[in-house]
Structures are given as C-alpha cells and as structure tokens.
Symmetry: C3
C-alpha cells in the first residue's frame, strides 16, 4: 500500500490567523490517484494547530474569542519570563488544540461534512512561514 507525503507552504500573520486547507488537501489527494484511505494533516511546530470548522467569518471570530478567553494574551506566562519571546499563550493554545487531524477518504473524495473545512490555526505572535504536512495512506 503506497504512502504519499507532501507539504505546502503558507505565509501567516500569527495571532490566531486561520487558513482553509481543504482545497489543497483535495488537490493533493487527487494527485495521488488513491481511492480509499486516510489523509493525515499535520502542523510541524509548537505554536500552530490543525482542526476542522465551518469556514465563515462569524464562526472564525467566535472560535478566536473562545480561545482568547481560554488562554488570554496579556496575562503572565512562565514561558515568557524565561524566553522573552512573548508567545506563551501561543504554546498553550496549540498544545490544547493539537497538531493534526485524520480525515478518511473514499472513492477519491475526503469524507468531510458539507460545511466542514480543514484549517491551520497559527497561534504565534508574529508572521510565520509555515509548512503543513499532508500524508495520504491507502490504495
């Protein structure tokens, strides 16, 4: 059974910058010619995360507001006292959300819901050049 591993590169703004990856994952899958299997989408890095959401501006703002309440900017973080890079909140958010999502595909299509998109969330406190790994395993 073949394994296809590729990556895309994205310039992000940080501060909960959210990118819709669905079209690129679909396109990567199509390139593999696989029909049945699983897509693993993975963010290498300790201040970004992958999940799914309905990609519309209201839900994205609500998501950001809930994250902001969960691990606010502007409170004390031990990470910042030690490293002075000011992104303690980014680390906490990314660890909580997690770096990967696994999406099954069948008949060559991702089995996402109609309004469900795969997103990269960059929680860092500065613009970043991000790599995201796409891996397709199947046949």
């Amino acid at each position: 059974m073949p394994v296809f591993t590729s990556s895309i590169h994205i310039f992000t703004d940080g501060f909960c910058d959210i990118h819709n990856l669905s079209a690129q994952v679909e396109s990567g899958l199509k390139g593999t010619k696989l029909r049945h299997g699983v897509a693993v989408i993975f963010a290498p890095g300790a201040t970004a995360a992958i999940t799914t959401i309905e990609f519309e501006s209201g839900a994205l703002k609500d998501f950001e507001a809930a994250i902001q309440k969960f691990a606010p900017e502007g409170i004390h973080y031990h990470h910042d006292s030690r490293w002075h890079d000011g992104n303690g909140f980014s680390h906490v958010r990314a660890a909580f959300l997690g770096p990967s999502v696994s999406v099954p595909f069948d008949a060559g299509k991702l089995l996402l819901g109609t309004w469900q998109q795969i997103i990269l969330v960059d929680f860092d406190n500065r613009p970043r050049h991000r790599e995201v790994i796409f891996q397709f395993i199947g046949n």
Copy 2:
C-alpha cells in the same frame, strides 16, 4: 493492505448529546477480519466531535458542564448574527474538540483502556441525523 470504510447512522438530540460508539466500532472491526492496524472514527459535520471518555453519567455531566463554561450558550456569537441559526456555541465547541480519534488495534481488539469508550458528541442546537465514519486500515 486493505482499507475498510463504513458508516453508522445515529439520531441525536443535540445540546451535547453523547453516544457511546465502542460496541459498534468493535463490531465493525470484527467484520473486517483485520488483526493489526488503526481505526479512524470521524464525524463529518462542523457541529459534532469525537473523543474518548469513561461513559458513566457523572463524568458525562461534568464534561458537559466544562464545555458549557468554555463556550456558553446564551452569549453573543458572530455566527448567529450572520446566519440566525443560533448554533454559534456548537461550532466553537466542535472545532475545539476535533472531529476524529485514531485508535490502534491488535489481535483483532481495539487497544482502549478498561473504562475508556469512544464517543460522538453532538453539539448542535437541534435533533440531528448523524453519520459517523469508521475506517479500518491494517492487515
């Protein structure tokens, strides 16, 4: 290496309605005759999530209370202002929890802990007819 993809259908009540999927995943696995590999359980849709928990009423209520505190009903959501479907809280909760869990199996059995069950959590604000994808990859 074979890939088996199937789905089950569940009628849910919404509002953090939690369903124990473990028996159905075990039974789906048995049907494949696979011995070693991974089960991916995936909820297509932007207002449901998959995780594991000890499926007893106390822990389920505690889980719901924590979620309610994290992303309450009854506060302002941008999603609701725009779409008027009143389920902004559902989107935030589902995105945070995530749509899938991957559970290894060996000797034909899921490697879950003794008190650990796989659950579907429906966060929507109305009854739904849900599909859940089971995918088994292995040999």
Copy 3:
C-alpha cells in the same frame, strides 16, 4: 504494508504529570526500519492524554495553569459524588484533550517541528503505572 504495534510503560505522579515521549517514539520507529508512514501514539485510559508541546518548564507550567482554570480541582464533580475517587477533573481534562496524536514520518524521521515534542499528560489524582501504545504503519 506492515503494521508495528508496541508499548512502553511509564510510572507517573498524576496531577498533570507530563512526560516527553519523542525519543522513545523515534527509537521505536528506528527499530521498525520503516521509512514512510504514520506513527499513532495512543494512551489507553480515561484520565491521560497525548498531545505535542515545546517541552520546557515554562510552557509546561503555563499549560497546567490553563488546564487548571478550564477544569479546576476543588469544585463539584458528579463523577466524584458517584464513585468517590475524586478524579472528576481528570476525566474532563482527558476527554477534552484527547487520547491520541498521529505524526507522519518520512525518510525514517518523525516530521515534528524543531521545538515540538510528543507528550503524555497524566491527569489522574494519584501515581499511575501507564502503558502508552506506539503504532507505526508504512513501508
């Protein structure tokens, strides 16, 4: 395509005790001689979780503080009223964080970020002897 399933055993202190698993996962992967595929790291049990973080003491303390705020010790849990084992907060935290992470590997190396480590978080309220499953699928 081969599947390799193994496990490690760890003595933990509970109460958000965090263990860095990256070296052991890398070493397990090396033992399989696989080059391309996915590593699934899974915690069997309803009071532990797996995620990734920058494993430095500041970020770990910040993570623990955010979890403590999300599902505090010392408040009422229905689980505790029923079972009297006092670890209601552990169940809520573990369910929210999730039991597994999937990390792609290529050319025999995990595709983690430079500062990103795989961690086991033991949320229980007592020392535990934990098993963690490593599964490698690829070729």
